[in-house]
Amino acid sequence: MTTYYSKDHEWVAVEGDVATIGITDFAQSQLGDVVFVELPDVGKTLAQGDEAAVVESVKAASEVYAPISGDVTEANDALVDAPAKVNEDPEGAAWFVKMTVSDKAELEDLMDEAAYKAFVESL
């Protein structure tokens, strides 16, 4: 499994043809207490950069963008009832969606862990 990161602070873990998408620990720390998560319907086709989900903290609403193109195969409905999981385990149990990888070349637009870490430190 390889994990990639976007400049919008999403992570993408790719295993075979399945990509799992979530937001990074940095993203959740910036958002603060998450109180609402809206997920896409299974089957929805997303292009890279499309709005994939919405995450709201006490203060504000933020969009989660699809870091790659593909079809949504699964949504983590547990987050809808327990949005605080996003703060507790953003890069583990609190994944947002699983999707197909329709164009592996798009992964090259993303960062690896070391590059993302450097990116966050530069902010």
């Binding site: 919008d8 602070h9 993203a27 910036q30 958002l31 603060g32 207490d33 109180v35 609402f36 809206e38 919405v54 709201e56 903290s57 006490v58 203060k59 504000a60 609403a61 933020s62 809808v80 949005p83 902010l123």
Partner: protein
């Protein structure tokens, strides 16, 4: 998702270094670099409702109106506010609004008549940070000869709010726990001169302490040394006041909204309504007597999705009837709430409405406010 770094033009309050030391996340607010949160908005909100929270509100504008006697000073202020100030008793605080000529709200503010006889002729004013530059020139321009405005730039304002505030504060200012809500006195906090008001903007019992800037950090540290007290940021201040049904200037009230539309008619004392001698009296009294076209109301949303400022409100049959002016997740309620304006015919408690969020119609109901009962201290008779 990161906020862009703010410009270097921001002002600091006397507690700025303390906020940074306590690990606050600082954000620009009304021209000041202010703490939005420390450990997290939910935890800070709940802590304030259950124990006591310390808020730095030093960005707000403090000033004295100084005249020869109470009657003269109060009458000067009454030319620009609709509340009865002349009849305010010593040591009492009144919430009121500055009005423009059309009866719109220029700002909301607290007016205190000092308890001390030697301070007779003074009124202590606290106005919103973002409105200082509008309010103070407006007030100064309204004053007759013999009454002057003294802006208190060198003072901090610290709020201590929550059910444990009284016992904590009384350990530093003896007798503070016996003050009635909306009363004020000058006192000594461990030897530091303070103007102490039993008031606040969270819906909880609490105090606001005005103190010289140089003594503010020592006072804040003394309060924070109590296990019952934690520092609270602007994020929780906003969620607390929203649950309490209290207006935030520039959002829920502004120069276009009147006190009747914004449902704060308690600022219109009967003697002033009868005299009809305040700015915009014609509009305000017509609305008071016949009803305004729109009214500020609360909303409770049925799902979990928060609706925020600017969201449109539709009637059950889909007609646009209003707009939200504040909204978000309410930690103590445990659900999303909002406030906004609707056409008066739809303002009744329980009226079903739809609120548009990201193109979707969220079911909600008009709700009376506050959303969380006020727990102000009432002095035993």
């Amino acid at each position: 998702m990161a906020d862009p770094a703010a410009s270097g033009q921001l002002l600091d309050t006397p507690l700025h270094d303390l906020h940074v030391e306590l690990g606050a996340r600082m954000v620009p607010f009304a021209g000041y670099d202010m703490p939005v949160q420390y450990e997290g908005i939910l935890a800070e909100h709940t802590w304030t409702r259950e124990s006591a929270g310390l808020f730095d509100v030093s960005h707000m504008g403090q000033a004295f109106l100084i005249g020869p006697d109470h009657e003269t000073t109060a009458k000067a202020l009454e030319t620009i506010v609709p509340s009865a100030i002349a009849t305010l008793k010593p040591g009492r605080i009144r919430y009121t609004v500055l009005l423009n000529g059309e009866g719109g709200i220029v700002d909301d503010l607290m007016v205190t008549r000092p308890a001390e006889p030697e301070l007779d002729g003074r009124l202590f004013l606290v106005v919103n940070a973002a409105r200082k530059d509008v309010d103070f020139p407006m007030i100064a321009a309204a004053l007759p000869e013999g009454v002057r405005l003294e802006i208190l730039d060198e003072r901090a304002l610290i709020a201590l709010q929550g059910p444990k505030a009284a016992e904590v504060l009384a350990s530093h200012v003896p007798g503070a726990d016996e003050m009635g809500f909306m009363t004020s006195m000058d006192g000594a906090f461990d030897g530091i001169d303070v103007k102490l008001s039993r008031s606040g903007y969270t819906g909880e019992d609490g105090y606001e302490v005005s103190v010289a800037a140089g003594a503010a950090e020592a006072l804040a540290r003394a309060l924070l040394s109590h296990d019952e007290v934690k520092p609270i940021g602007l994020g929780a201040r906003d969620s607390l006041r929203l649950e309490a049904g209290l207006c935030l200037y520039g959002h829920d009230i502004d120069e276009t909204t009147s006190p009747v539309e914004s449902d704060i008619t308690f600022v219109l004392q009967k003697s002033r309504r009868e005299a009809a001698d305040f700015p915009g009296a014609a509009r305000i009294l017509a609305e008071f007597n016949e009803g305004a076209v729109r009214k500020r109301v609360g909303f409770r949303l049925e799902g979990r999705a928060p609706a925020r400022e600017g969201a449109e409100v539709l009637s059950a049959d889909g007609a646009r009837i209003g707009v939200l002016t504040s909204g978000g997740f309410a930690p103590t309620v445990g659900a999303p709430i909002a406030m906004g304006y609707v056409e008066t015919g739809h303002a009744e408690d329980g009226t079903p409405v739809k609120i548009i969020v990201r193109g979707r119609e969220l079911p909600a109901r008009v709700s009376s406010m506050p959303f969380v009962e006020h727990r102000y201290y009432r002095k035993p008779a």
